[in-house]
């Protein structure tokens, strides 16, 4: 049973059938087999959050999930959210607020920030910090990222920035 396992899942709205080794994690499956390299691999033990994707609508660490565990699920990566325009305003705010810098953490940050903004229309800075606390950034000192998420929340809420 160390042989490859057959899985079927939905990735960014498209049906995917694949054979994967049990040890392959979801992040590497997305990157190496599907060429969806927006999902980044940082620490590979669940600390940094760069590999955050959505599975069945909820954010998860794709380095802490086996590809075989994704059988039957709907996975959404940063490519899916970006192409659909779901996070276009958030991406613009990150750019405007200089919240990108090296960009390595950005896909995970966007996934986590969008997750919060879907759940809460008016998160304050403390709530934003708490929700993003599982995502590391080594460039911005977080302030610019919090600014960008806060700005997006205000604009989405129809409030003045």
């Amino acid at each position: 049973m160390t042989a490859p396992v057959s899985i079927s899942l939905d990735v960014n709205g498209e049906r995917v059938d694949a054979l994967v080794l049990p040890r392959l994690n979801l992040a590497d499956f997305l990157r190496e087999q599907l060429q969806l390299t927006g999902t980044h691999v940082g620490c590979e033990h669940g600390v940094c959050g760069a590999c955050t994707v959505r599975v069945n609508g909820e954010i998860v660490r794709s380095c802490l999930m086996l590809a075989v565990q994704a059988h039957g699920t709907a996975v959404e990566t940063i490519e899916g959210l970006s192409d659909s325009g779901e996070v276009a305003d958030l991406q613009a705010a990150f750019r405007d607020r200089n919240a990108l810098q090296c960009g390595f953490c950005t896909p995970g940050m966007l996934m986590a920030a969008q997750d919060l903004l879907k759940q809460e229309a008016r998160p304050d800075r403390d709530r934003i910090r708490e929700h993003l606390s599982g995502n590391y950034c080594r460039c911005t000192g977080y302030q610019a990222i919090i600014d960008a998420v806060e700005t997006t929340a205000r604009v989405r809420g129809g409030r003045r920035v």
């Binding site: 049973m1 802490l64 565990q69």
Partner: protein, 293 residues
């Protein structure tokens, strides 16, 4: 790093999982949410030859009130506990504690059964189970056995579970009238493992504790149900009484030193936690300041 190669089976039922564990148990690991197992495997701290994935077993899911207890299936995820009105109504200690368990992306996958079976002495849920006097329900080929939470944990990452057994559920007694709870932990960053923490469940009658269960975590090799609680129940506590209890607590605990904190710092933090707990639950700010002295 990446996990070493292993064979994998997706269990279809508890009986099927037990069959797989009977065949492979000594060389196998049970995978539920994977939020502790996967990091350990990725870091090559463990390399099981066989992984039994129980994630699809529907009978292990769900939160239900039965009689005077709440039964939580092993596969119930942290996010489900956190948002459950049943948990909030009957065991609010758990609702409060879950907010300190890692981060949202981890809470979406991590399960209560996985956390308890993993038995990290610095994690929140084992201590909550001890404070709440939970019963851990274990299934093996021979049938079911029930173990009190305080007897379930036997050391760092060690429990009474045998490799052929599966943790299937926990049962928590529903809250008594006048019950009160306290939860606090010291961590470097919100969501990190605690440097020292306390989960407490109490029954307060007037100015007294009629019952007090103090479960300290990250200050020993397992959650510690502090015996010093008996010195604080059914009596009007004076500052001198509390001070004496804090000294007894220091003697009772045997914390480890590591990169995060020395043993003496952990003892100090545990005293602070106990003083705050007593002061908060009794509405006695004069006592709450005692631990910082």
């Amino acid at each position: 790093m990446k996990a070493a190669a292993f064979a994998y089976a997706r269990a279809t039922s508890v009986v099927n999982a037990l069959d797989l564990l009977e065949a492979h148990g000594g060389r196998a690991k049970v995978l539920s949410g994977g939020q502790s197992l996967m990091p350990a495997m990725n870091l090559r701290l463990i390399s099981p030859e066989f992984v039994v994935d129980i994630g699809e077993i529907a009978e292990l899911r769900g939160i239900a009130v039965t009689g005077d207890s709440v039964r939580i299936g092993a596969l119930t995820r942290h996010v489900e506990l956190q948002s459950s009105p049943v948990i909030a109504a009957h065991t609010p200690l758990l609702t409060e504690a879950i907010a300190h368990v890692a981060h949202p992306a981890i809470r979406n996958r991590g399960t209560i059964g996985g956390s308890l079976a993993h038995a990290d002495p610095a994690s929140e849920l084992p201590a909550c189970m001890v404070a709440l006097n939970a019963t851990i329900i274990i299934r093996g080929k021979a049938g079911e056995r029930r173990v009190e939470a305080k007897d379930f944990f036997t050391g760092i990452y060690e429990t009474v579970l045998s490799p052929q057994e599966l943790l299937v559920a926990v049962e928590l007694p529903t809250g008594r009238r006048k019950s009160a709870h306290f939860f606090h932990e010291f961590a470097r960053r919100h969501g990190d493992y605690a440097i020292a923490g306390l989960a407490a469940q109490a029954v307060v009658e007037g100015d007294l504790f009629a019952d007090l269960r103090l479960a300290f975590f990250a200050v020993g090799d397992r959650p510690v149900l502090a015996k010093v609680a008996t010195k604080l129940t059914n009596m009007a506590i004076t500052p001198a009484d509390l001070s004496a209890a804090l000294s007894v607590l220091s003697q009772e605990l045997d914390p480890q030193s590591d990169q995060q904190a020395s043993a003496s710092m952990r003892r100090h933090l545990a005293r602070v936690l106990l003083a705050r707990c007593v002061g908060t639950l009794l509405g006695r700010p004069d006592l709450g300041a005692g631990g910082s002295a």
